[in-house]
Subunit: 344 residues, 2 copies
């Protein structure tokens, strides 16, 4: 047999070697193409690339096993536009006409009357209690399936007034590349948002490639029951379980993930505790803050570095200083990003 | 070129065909080896194998995309022994000496005095309020890192009195095979337990191959703060966020996973709502209940099918009848399982 098998084996080995070489060349070519093409070459991009190499190259002391590769991302202002108002608040305002149609007695009651007037200045002045009433009325009381359908419909219909595009197109292209880059290196990417968990889950898989089970957000209770057809239902209740802002972010991460992240990304004081918690773990860590300093291409607000103050996404000078003192990285939208949106 | 390349291409094609054939034979041989060797051939095993084939074979109408392949498993009585008491309650009792050592004034206060007496009958008679006090004192007040270390130490030290083995060895071998079988077919396996989420997460990865982020359980709040060294801490608070029993199971699944499972496994009335919720989804569904009817090899309790009643894991005759009416599958430990434990 040896005489028959050997030549065949030689041919096979040579062929296999050729196939392997082709594969390796392909991998090398892939490694040379830039996985973050919307990032300018600079400290932020270099920090990201070094961190991913350090934590995912076998044999390095800084290597992190795949099971522990958790990266968490704030959403509003970190993954998509949060000005002039959180998209979820706009959703709640847009739900009011349907609410008034179903319950006509609301038309003359506040805050519905003001919202129906369309007077933007008056709406912006609504007191906190009225806003909370509005959120409770538009985000709870329905089954989770009804809510999902309502949000999906709104995402199809609504357009951002500045860019005249669906809100789900206003995601930052550099961050989309970053999410994919982390995932390509064995990281699981989680959204950890002050926004509603059920709201974000409607589009997170389609828009960010993040499945619902990897969305941690502000969450209310649901109530299990049975519909008219006898089938089980889950109804959204006006009872807060998790306020996923500030200290609520590490608390939510513990509840929902049960592991400390290795990398965390935010853009405001509400993300500070998440970054602290991530940073305090042993081994290599990455903590980054997006600074909105690009009035021409997006918005400039802060008030870090003398940027104007803002109602949402407050990036204070104190947070900026803390970031530099801790060794966290500040991403300048103006300087670090080649483009902001996919359509730029 | 054609004349030079063609013979080489022919050799390559032939070699590639041979390699493919070898691979395919390997796959066929693998498919023929039984992935569930601890299961007797019977309705339960056939139901499982058909369900997995139906939902994971591309082209079948019943095919379920990988992202939606979620299977949820109760733990106590479904994955491991729950008699004569839940292991977590035994853990709490075993923590009492350390508690009394740290706070000697507890030695003469109830329920600690009774627990310290070692009088098992008296301990079993402790009123519910005392038991709740005991759970709160032993499961909260420490940081999550301290708690993890305490549970890990107990798992190393404690032995089940009947089998003289660590509790983590008292898992059901047929269910361990089932978990691996589902995962090998692209399912994500979740524990959905009435037990403490933080408790189960300490060993779930090592024992079941289920990572912490796939453990849903009864969960309390944590409080973010800073230790003496200034580093962030999460402290376990005596505030219940999720009672993951009965209706709490589908509610917890919605909160933590955000998708309806395709398959669910339980063993008691506390799992009924999870099975209902799973079963009510569209497309193929699997709902199974483990019946403890094997006094010789494990325990027999019910009171389904005339088995003796039990303080834990109540499988009533009404649940048994509901299972049969719904089309759920009852797994008889006595008849469906070749062996109970890995060490059998």
């Amino acid at each position: 047999m040896e005489t028959i098998v050997s030549p065949l084996r030689r041919v096979f080995c040579r062929t296999a070697a050729a196939v392997c070489a082709t594969l390796l060349l392909g991998i090398a070519a892939h490694a040379q193409s830039d996985p973050l093409p919307s990032w300018n070459d600079g400290a932020a991009k270099r920090t990201i690339v070094s961190f991913v190499a350090d934590t995912t190259t076998p044999g390095r002391q800084s290597f992190v096993p795949e099971a522990e590769r958790i990266a968490t991302f704030d959403q509003d202002g970190t993954l998509w536009v949060e000005q002039p108002m959180y998209s979820q608040v706009l959703y709640c305002l847009d739900r009011v006409p349907a609410l008034v149609k179903a319950q006509p007695e609301l038309a003359n009651a506040e805050p519905f009357k003001t919202v129906m007037s369309g007077d933007r200045a008056a709406i912006a002045r609504l007191p906190k209690e009225d806003l909370e009433k509005l959120l409770a009325m538009t985000l709870t009381g329905m089954t989770v399936d009804e809510f999902r359908a309502q949000v999906a419909q709104w995402l199809d219909d609504a357009r951002n007034p500045r860019w005249k595009r669906p809100y789900t197109e206003l995601i930052y292209q550099p961050m989309k590349e970053l999410l994919a880059y982390f995932r390509a290196h064995g990281y699981r990417t989680y959204i950890v948002t002050g926004g509603g968990q059920d709201f974000v889950r409607v589009y997170s898989e389609r828009v960010y490639g993040i499945p619902p089970e990897q969305v941690v957000g502000t969450a209310g209770a649901t109530r299990y029951g049975y519909g008219k057809d006898g089938k089980p239902t889950l109804t959204k209740e006006p009872k807060l379980l998790l306020n996923d802002n500030d200290a609520g972010k590490p608390e939510g991460i513990h509840l929902m993930i049960g592991r400390r992240p290795v990398a965390a990304f935010g853009n405001s004081t509400g993300d500070r505790e998440m970054l602290e918690y991530t940073w305090a773990g042993s081994g290599p860590r990455l903590a980054m803050l997006v600074l909105h300093d690009d009035a021409a291409r997006e918005y400039a607000y802060g008030p870090a570095q003398g940027l104007p103050d803002s109602k949402v996404g407050t990036f204070t000078q104190a947070l900026y200083d803390a970031a530099l003192n801790n060794g966290w990285t500040v991403i300048s939208m103006k300087n670090d990003w080649k483009r902001i949106f996919a359509f730029d």
